[in-house]
């Protein structure tokens, strides 16, 4: 490991972000509306998976409750935007960033609470507590129906593209840009964090708590902070996710979502931000797979009815199992291994 020169690392990450962002913007300019929404969903999920993989992969704390943290961010955005709208102060350009900032803050606070409890717990016991957190969303929204409107959820004004972009600007493209900005910001901050001294503390605590403590790293504080950062990212992702459809409802954040988030980061490649990108892509693919399969398979009605929906789930289950068997390091681990082998082959070639 080379000692990172902070200045150049930051600059390199910044350049990478601009490059990736530009490519995605170019892509969105070509895409029809629904495909742009898919891009937007990938970006929203990326905020969540990136933060999640730092917590689980780099810090070794298992969280099965990130779906609930997403919900916290989503509901914060909805409540803030509704509140502003009702007081007739909505409509300004600052409403969106303001509400997303509030989502990050509130969710980070939630992460602090969970993190304080989590710092005392290990392995399956932490899994048990976070699993209980994941099931909270419907309960809380029903108990406080006055605020959250029960299972029907809340609607808030949809984001329209600014007038400067012209009257025919595709609204879905604007949504994709919003989500892209959030995802790039998250990735940039996390990439620098991972490379910083704090990032090394995270890994040290994961690898050996006792050794980390002997090295003078405040273990509990490092763990709680990891939870706070991860929750903040989940809050931002959840907030953006809500903005894409301008709705929130408890049914959008079921236990399955939390489990799928975990699957996504492990299949993508645990602990790697590039793996988080794979994970985000996978989550969106999972949502769209059923439609694809039913559309392109022409079956007799009886058989089709049995397969409808079920087939997509079976395929996804199989993919999870096969990837884990074939590439234990996830997709990113597989890519890395492949690249290493290729490079070795290239280097060997001129010798012959």
């Amino acid at each position: 490991m080379t000692t990172p020169r902070t200045g150049s690392t930051l600059l390199r990450h910044l350049a990478g972000a601009v490059l990736a962002g530009t490519l995605v913007v170019l892509l969105t300019n070509q895409l029809p509306p629904y495909e742009n929404l898919q891009v937007a969903r990938v970006c929203a999920f990326l905020c969540v998976t990136a933060g999640h993989t730092v917590l689980v992969g780099l810090n070794g704390q298992l969280s099965l409750g990130h779906g609930a943290l997403m919900a916290t961010g989503a509901y914060t955005v909805a409540l803030v935007q509704r509140g502003l709208d009702e007081r007739a102060v909505g409509g300004g350009w600052w409403v969106l960033p303001g509400s997303l900032l509030a989502a990050v803050a509130v969710t980070a606070l939630g992460g602090l609470v969970v993190g304080l409890a989590a710092a005392r717990l290990r392995g399956p016991y932490l899994a048990g507590v976070t699993l209980a957190v994941a099931t909270l969303v419907p309960a809380v929204t029903t108990i406080f129906t006055g605020v959250f409107n029960g299972e029907q959820g809340l609607r808030f004004p949809a984001q329209a593209p600014p007038a400067a972009l012209g009257p025919y600007f595709q609204p879905e493209r604007w949504l994709a840009w919003i989500a892209l900005a959030a995802a790039l910001l998250t990735m940039l901050l996390l990439a620098n964090l991972v490379r910083s001294r704090y990032g090394r503390s995270l890994r040290a605590v994961r690898d050996d708590e006792v050794a980390a403590r002997l090295a003078g790293i405040p273990v509990a504080r490092t763990q709680v902070l990891a939870f706070v950062v991860s929750a903040g990212c989940a809050g931002l992702g959840g907030g953006v996710y809500a903005v894409l459809t301008a709705t929130v409802a408890p049914g959008k954040f079921p236990l399955d979502l939390s489990l799928f988030l975990l699957m996504a980061i492990v299949i993508g490649g645990l602990g790697s931000l590039a793996g988080a990108v794979w994970g985000a892509l996978l989550l969106v693919a999972l949502q769209d797979l059923p439609a694809l399969l039913t559309e392109h398979l022409d079956l007799s009605t009886g058989l089709a009815q049995r397969l409808e929906g079920n087939l997509a789930l079976a395929v996804f289950g199989l993919i999870l199992i096969v990837v884990m068997l074939a590439a234990p390091g996830g997709l990113q681990g597989g890519v890395r291994a492949l690249a290493t082998r290729l490079r070795a082959a290239v280097r060997r070639a001129p010798d012959r």
Binding site: A127, G128, L136, A139, T142, R306, L313, A314, L320, G329
Partner: protein, 292 residues
């Protein structure tokens, strides 16, 4: 006061079911140091087998036996064909494979049997016996409680009194040392998975008649509650699983009865935090919690 007794009986009946299922989770944790997230889906699959046999032969007991046998076989199969090859990369990979298995099993069940509810008859009367005007436990509830307790007793015997049980414990706690001592760790793992899935199958057969009926998702909710119960009791302790199951059943019943059905997830979280912040390894944790 009548209400309290009623809720107590109701909670015990539900708790017995959670206890039985939590036992299966504890078994696999003891054998392989992994939480088997596919336990619920596997139990549903074996329950389909069991009720197919019930339908064909008309005998509940044959069906029960078939389900448990199918469980033993399925457990061994999953370990031999899947989990064995996932092991070294870390426990999370096994969790993900288990989750993949959940999706696969539920989808296949849906394709083969359809997504509808199928009736799941109980072997005993489900009408509650009345004690002092309070609807108490039904004969079926007593059978579930009795079955769960019997399994705990049998497991205790197995683990403390038989050589196989001792080898299984050794293989789980210190695989390297065990291997040096001539214990076939691999075979013990397979046995552990088979045993756990067998108990899971039994639990599935006990659970299904108390719920909405047999369908691919019949154990989803039960899994979450039973996992909570196992964690509360301590994942290493079969007794803890039973106590945890009954405790969670009682608390869910009191909370549902006195505060309403929406509040139960909150109550579960409060219970978990209350127990784990005092005893991070669950109520019956044998080993001392790591001090960090």
């Amino acid at each position: 006061m009548q209400r309290f007794w009623f809720l107590t009986f109701d909670g015990l009946a539900a708790g017995a079911v959670y206890a039985a299922f939590a036992l299966a989770l504890v078994l696999i944790w003891r054998a392989a140091r992994v939480v088997n997230f596919a336990q619920g889906a596997m139990a549903v699959a074996t329950a389909y087998v069991g009720y197919a046999v019930v339908g064909a032969t008309g005998s509940y007991w044959l069906g029960l036996a078939a389900a448990v046998l199918a469980g033993l076989a399925l457990g061994a199969l999953v370990e031999r064909v899947l989990m064995r090859f996932v092991g070294p990369a870390g426990p999370l990979n096994q969790v993900i494979v288990a989750l993949g298995l959940v999706l696969l099993v539920q989808a296949v069940l849906g394709m083969v049997f359809g997504n509808g509810y199928r009736p799941a008859p109980a072997p005993f009367d489900t009408d509650a016996l009345t004690v002092g005007g309070v609807a108490a436990l039904s004969p079926y509830d007593l059978w579930v409680l009795g079955a769960a307790l019997t399994v705990v007793a049998l497991l205790a015997l197995l683990f403390t009194r038989t050589p196989v049980g001792l080898r299984m414990r050794a293989a789980a706690f210190a695989p390297e040392v065990s291997r040096l001592l001539g214990v076939s760790v691999g075979r013990m793992l397979t046995l552990g998975w088979a045993l756990a899935a067998g108990v899971g199958a039994l639990a599935g057969m006990l659970v299904v008649p108390t719920g909405l009926g047999l369908h691919p998702h019949a154990m989803d909710l039960v899994f979450v509650v039973a996992f909570t119960a196992a964690v509360v009791g301590g994942l290493d302790s079969p007794v803890g699983a039973v106590v945890g199951g009954l405790l969670v059943g009682l608390i869910l019943s009191y909370v549902t009865g006195y505060l309403g059905p929406d509040t139960t997830p909150l109550a579960v979280l409060v219970l978990l935090l209350a127990v784990l912040l005092v005893r991070p390894g669950g109520l019956f944790s044998a080993a001392r919690a790591r001090h960090v």
